[in-house]
Symmetry: C2
Subunit: 489 residues, 2 copies
């Protein structure tokens, strides 16, 4: 049986240590593809840990695609093709592990649960029994007093700095704070000069087209969030819709459509909730490495809101060929009305950006940049993240509990409930998706179907997207009952 | 002799009333082209007003190009071709006059002096005896306490509103405040829905290309501010440099280069300081009216900082064919570190924008939009403008006085000193512009040449741009002496 010296775990949590040991053996080939992993209970006894520890480690490996499961047979090692174009994978993995070790100084909590949905839909004008489409933060959770105090302090104490225009990429102080944050929370080793601040991801997508070229062919996930393709289209570039399988975008389709730049959210796909497993990630990196024109835009919009286990590592972490442009937003953790986004450019692109785009003015005011930097540096942000994770987990649990107690429970199947701030609910009904949503709305429940997000015919009938970040529990039972009535109507 | 019933002036200042009467007669043809206007002194006696009143009225008409002057001969009516494509000019003029009348409720002071330079160059890292390149506002002039108080109030009182994302065009409250402001200060009749807010003019230029089309040919002034052409080029559209004569861009060159969209600053050209006279304005509007593809981008970056007389009216005011896109910025009046810009779209374009671009998120945070709206609405902005105008006029006067007292005075000729926040100083020297600037910098004086802004060979040797908005008077005499030494070296 596999054996690891669990005493070496130190301050690292046991499950995370075990997860890292097994991951290392998979990546190094010690554990070959399709090898069966020990059953949980005997493995736990063997290692002298609890069954929960083994379960959690397996769950994390499963979520990231290092292992797969066969019902009633157990867990097996996935086939991960890392060797093809990555001769120096070993050293990359080493670097990765080194980062993981550095990250031991941070609590597990810090790793979890960070950004809110990057998709700010306007608040519903009407009142619903339940609104599963709204994905905003509610006013009570914004740290008003801290934010106001910080702003006041900055206006009083930083008057000179406040009136200096920010460099085009953002204030260096803020970029340093974000680099430190990415090291702690996302295990990413990033130089502040690689970080470019912008007033919203919409703005950054447009800037990216200018940087990568109007002659490139861009690709987006199908299904996916329609705004992204709209922006590429408005920027007058070719934008292909790339079909997905259960692991993410299909590589053959990238080749077939001659896509140069693929825009994906591998850590938590919207709307399906898919986590792209590590094998597909390496395939994507390998695809990108084949041409200097090719890049991967990693839109990491809510990966840190994983409710169970550690967040899925960013693709940027295994990006030894400098092919990944990492994009994320701060706005949504705080409030969707703030405009804080950033991208992390590969070093050669960062150099190009600084040489050719430095004439642009930064789109975020100096005051707000100083306020955000202070909020991160003094620990307020970390506190806020922890608070929000607990809040959202509570909302999710309340909802799941209410569903399980309702008549609806016999008609539904829930998936992807551990990541992001929405899950997928498959509902047995004879109604079409469109008809279902329409009738639900008539009964006061706003709900959206997964099929709405496909450009082609959807293979996902009767799957609905349940956003719960802004959900009130007051009329939940009534709302679920209404859904039941619609489903059987 | 011309006769006007000066008693009708009411609350309007006499000179402004006289200016409007003459302007009306020029536009209606009562005063034909090349007609000589009465000499100032007899005209003043005839009307029963002071000579200063007539002088000021003539100066304003001259600045706007309604009249021209011949040395020792007097003032003559300009040839203004308004009739060609503008059948309903008369009604437009009427509307114009109606607006002027509405504007009588505002004091003359309010009309003057508004935005600071839209061109935020980073503060000089070195200390200079004088820095004529730096065009920033200094920290002391920012209304910190009012701004801080407003922010605190908003955070305390508008929590719900504060967390709602702004509509893509900006908060309606702010757009209404701006529309009201434009009516009062710029005599413009604009519907709030025509106003689109954006985090900086750079951002808005990019948005305009998306709105007007990547297939259009864009044109910029030559000489001009190089950033504008850089942005068009980065947006991957054709950008022609259109040569200028003493009235602005040359229309024939627009035709010859097949330019569709011309980007100009008719009320105060940078860097030459030229004010495009009303005849050329009508010619430009007439050019634009010839094709549905054609538009004029009116970049009104500092027109309100006219130090003498009323601000030059915006082209948008005589834009009866809806061909002018008006762009301006708030950031610079307050501080170059804030990001408040807006554009006023012609109604058909506004409709297109709302239909096709509403998926975009606004790039300014809700908090800062609320703060700006409050600042305008409670009158703080108006107070601030008046304060800044006085400050800048003081700096200009100090500088002009110091020059007149210096040895340099015999070698220089100053022009365009009544508009914007810079003027042009022609210096007699045998040095090339490049050599002059280099030697001046060695002696601690930072100065830029007009010729630097031409793409082609410059017809403007030995003309230098003197920015004075951030100028300290402490070492001014030393600085002017240093320039003298360079000039004669």
């Amino acid at each position: 049986m596999l054996s690891y010296d669990i005493k070496k775990a130190d301050s690292d949590s046991l499950y995370h240590y075990l997860y890292k040991c097994i991951k290392k053996d998979i990546l190094s080939g010690v554990l070959p593809a399709d090898e069966k992993l020990p059953s949980k209970r005997p493995f736990a006894v063997h290692l002298g840990v609890s069954v929960i520890t083994v379960e959690n480690a397996y769950a994390q490996l499963l979520a990231e695609g290092f292992i797969y499961t066969e019902p009633r047979k157990g867990f097996f090692v996935s086939a991960i093709d890392t060797g093809k174009t990555f001769g120096h994978l070993q050293s990359a993995t080493q670097a990765n592990l080194k980062q993981s070790r550095e990250a031991q100084n941070y609590s597990e909590d810090q790793f979890s649960n960070f950004y809110k949905n990057s998709i700010g839909k306007p608040a519903s004008p009407q009142k619903y029994l339940a609104d599963f489409v709204n994905n905003q933060v509610d006013p009570e959770s914004f740290p008003f007093s801290t934010w106001a105090k910080n702003m006041r302090k900055i206006i009083c104490e930083n008057q000179k700095e406040l009136l200096e225009p920010s460099p085009y990429g953002g204030l260096m102080g803020l970029r340093k704070s974000i680099a430190k944050f990415l090291r702690g929370f996302r295990n990413m080793d990033v130089d502040p000069s690689q970080i470019i601040m912008g007033a919203g991801t919409d703005y950054l997508y447009g800037l990216l087209v200018q940087l990568l070229g109007f002659d490139k062919k861009y690709g987006v996930e199908d299904p996916g969030y329609s705004k992204i393709s709209k922006i590429y289209r408005k920027m007058n570039v070719v934008c292909n819709f790339i079909p997905m399988d259960a692991s993410g975008v299909i590589i053959d389709q990238l080749e077939e459509t001659c896509t140069d730049v693929i825009h994906i959210s591998p850590s938590h796909h919207f709307p399906s909730g898919i986590v792209t497993p590590v094998s597909r990630r390496y395939e994507l990196l390998s695809w990108a490495a084949k041409s200097s024109n090719r890049y991967i835009v990693e839109d990491d919009y809510d990966s840190e809101f994983r409710m169970v286990g550690s967040p899925i590592p960013a693709m940027k972490n295994i990006d030894v060929m400098d092919k990944v442009i990492y994009i994320n937003t701060f706005s949504k953790t705080l409030t969707s009305s703030a405009r804080f986004s950033y991208m992390v450019l590969p070093k050669p692109l960062a150099k190009k950006f600084h040489e050719e785009f430095s004439f642009y003015a930064c789109t975020i005011s100096t005051l707000e940049q100083l306020a955000l930097a202070k909020f991160i540096d003094d620990g307020s942000f970390e506190k806020h993240i922890n608070r929000m994770r607990n809040l959202y987990r509570g909302r999710r649990d309340t909802l799941l509990h209410a569903i399980s107690k309702s008549k609806l429970s016999h008609l539904v199947e829930i998936s992807e409930e551990n990541a992001g701030l929405h899950f997928i609910m498959r509902i047995q009904t004879r109604l079409s998706d469109e008809e279902f949503c329409k009738r639900a709305e008539e009964k006061g429940v706003r709900i959206g179907a997964l099929s709405d997000y496909y450009t082609e015919a959807s293979p996902s009938e009767h799957q609905f997207i349940i956003n719960y970040s802004a959900l009130s529990s007051k009329k939940l039972d009534k709302a679920l009952n209404a859904l039941y009535e619609v489903a059987v109507s």
